[in-house]
Structures are given as structure tokens and as C-alpha cells.
């Protein structure tokens, strides 16, 4: 039973940086690349890789725009991403519950 739950955890979300990105994006309409970088404490390259992975899974959208003359990358969570994140939290809660029941 416990193993089933672990296997169900979404591998896309189950990585610290991606979990941090989605935890930030779930609370906002959108956030720019700089904010995500500062908040998650990752490098440009690392963050780009994780964002691309999330975009490929359709969990987030990435939009390249201009603010004045400055280019900027805006990330926002999709409905699919919100549902997946909610499900992930639910599963996490279930695991905690199961471990508490065990002890």
C-alpha cells in the first residue's frame, strides 16, 4: 500500500527545485525569471532546465516579453499544473498520515 502511494508521486514535481518553482507559482498569477532564480537560489542554467521540463509537461507556460527595453521571461502555472500540484500535496498528506498511523 505504502509503495503504491510512493509510485504515484509525480516525478515531474518530485524534485526540490521544481517543487519550489511550483510552490511559488501556485500562489501568484505569474512571476519572472529573476524572481524565481532569487527565490529558489539556483543558477540560470539550472533554472532554465527545470522550467523547460515543467513547460514540456504543460504544468507552466513561459512567455518571453519586453518590459520597456528589457527582455523578460514570465512564467505562470497552467490549470493542468495546478491540478497536478494539488494532487501531489494530497498524496504527500496521505503519506504523512500513513506514517503517523504506523507509529
Amino acid at each position: 500500500m505504502r509503495h503504491e502511494k510512493i509510485l504515484q508521486l509525480d516525478p515531474i514535481i518530485h524534485a526540490p527545485t521544481r517543487l519550489a518553482i511550483l510552490s511559488l507559482l501556485i500562489t501568484v498569477e505569474n512571476a519572472n525569471f529573476t524572481y524565481l532564480k532569487e527565490s529558489t537560489g539556483t543558477t540560470d542554467g539550472n533554472l532554465s532546465t527545470h522550467l523547460t521540463k515543467l513547460e514540456e509537461s504543460s504544468y507552466i507556460t513561459i512567455e518571453k516579453t519586453f518590459k520597456g527595453k528589457k527582455p523578460q521571461t514570465i512564467c505562470a502555472m497552467t490549470e493542468k499544473g495546478k491540478k497536478a500540484f494539488a494532487k501531489y500535496l494530497e498524496q504527500l498528506e496521505q503519506i504523512v498520515q500513513m506514517q503517523q498511523d504506523k507509529t
Partner: protein
């Protein structure tokens, strides 16, 4: 997945949510600035009435509205320029303020000028709208003290509806101080606290 891993994941989620909360605090500058302009304008209108210079009331009201509109525009534009993250909270707050601003303009100018009601009723009606603005800001940002400040507006609205005095404008001045500038300062205190935590 062991207990430590779960705790680590939960702490990541918590810390990210908390970071965003801190980043998106309202500075309160808008409320403080329009509060100061409104205090000066209301005091001036009160003095004009006291010295029978009523013809200056409308120009001062229009000037006050224009200045406050410009403050709103520049504060929001500046905030958006610096903004790294866009939140639902701010969007809702600005839209509520904008909507109430339109309602206030109609109450201030449209209906009294088209003789739907007398100018005497304007302070009461505007105060009701201001109460809604402050109350919604307090609810949206979960600041109970700011919510309480809306009582100043609604209480003042009742008071002004029944009191007839040439010093009525002083009630309005007090209401602006406790109903605009004070909530602005509460917002600003929270903003500074959160900025400090974010820097740390």
C-alpha cells in the same frame, strides 16, 4: 519516502509560499499620499466655506481628484515596473479601488451637479465608499487593524449625515487621517517588516 524527506518537501513548500507573501506586501504609499492630499484639500474647502468663498470648492475638488489620480497612476506604474511577480491579491485590490474610485467620482460630481441630490450629502456617500475601499484592503491583506479603520469611515458617514455645522470638514479631516493615513502606515509597517525578513 521517509519522514525527513517529507519534512524537507513540506518546508520547501512553506518557505516558498512565505517568501511570496513577503514579496507581495502592499507598501501603503498610495494611501498615505492621497491621504495627505485629501487632508489639505478638505481643510482648504472647509476654510473656503467658512469665509464664504464657496465658488472655490469645485475647482479644489477637481484639483484634488486630478492629483490623487496622478498619484494612483504613478504609484501603480512604479510598482508594476519594479514588480517581479504578479499576484491575484494586488490585481483584486487595484480593481476594487478602481471600481470604488469610479463610484466616488459619480457621487462627487455627476449626481450633485445634475441636481439628483444636494452637495451636503456628498461627504456621507463618499465616506461609505471609502469605508468599502479600506475594509476590502484589510480583508484582502488579512490586516484586521486596517479592517477596523473602515469603521471610522462608516461611523463618520453617519455622524456627517446628522450633524449640521460649518466645522463638519474637521470630522472629514479626522476621518481621512484615521481612515486613510493610518491604514497606509499599517501597510507600510508590514511592508518594511517583510522586506527586512526577505533581506535576512
Amino acid at each position: 519516502m521517509n519522514q525527513d524527506q517529507i519534512q524537507q518537501e513540506i518546508s520547501i513548500i512553506k518557505s516558498m509560499i512565505e517568501k511570496t507573501r513577503r514579496e507581495t506586501a502592499e507598501s501603503g504609499h498610495f494611501l498615505i499620499l492621497i491621504g495627505i492630499v485629501s487632508v489639505i484639500g478638505t481643510f482648504a474647502i472647509g476654510m473656503f466655506e467658512r469665509f464664504k468663498l464657496n465658488y472655490l470648492d469645485l475647482p479644489v475638488m477637481i484639483l484634488m481628484l486630478v492629483i490623487n489620480g496622478l498619484i494612483g497612476y504613478f504609484v501603480v506604474a512604479r510598482a508594476e515596473k519594479k514588480e517581479k511577480v504578479k499576484t491575484y491579491t494586488k490585481t483584486i485590490l487595484y480593481q476594487v479601488w478602481f471600481g470604488c474610485g469610479i463610484a466616488a467620482i459619480m457621487i462627487l460630481f455627476l449626481f450633485p451637479l445634475t441636481k439628483v441630490y444636494s452637495f451636503n450629502l456628498v461627504p456621507t456617500l463618499v465616506s461609505i465608499i471609502m469605508g468599502i475601499i479600506i475594509f476590502s484592503a484589510g480583508v484582502i491583506y488579512e490586516l484586521r487593524y486596517v479592517q477596523w479603520c473602515s469603521l471610522v469611515w462608516w461611523g463618520g458617514a453617519c455622524l456627517m449625515a446628522y450633524i449640521e455645522s460649518e466645522y463638519k470638514f474637521l470630522i472629514m479631516v479626522a476621518m481621512i487621517i484615521f481612515g486613510f493615513i493610518l491604514p497606509g502606515m499599517i501597510f507600510n509597517k508590514q511592508y518594511k517588516n517583510r522586506s527586512k525578513k526577505n533581506e535576512a
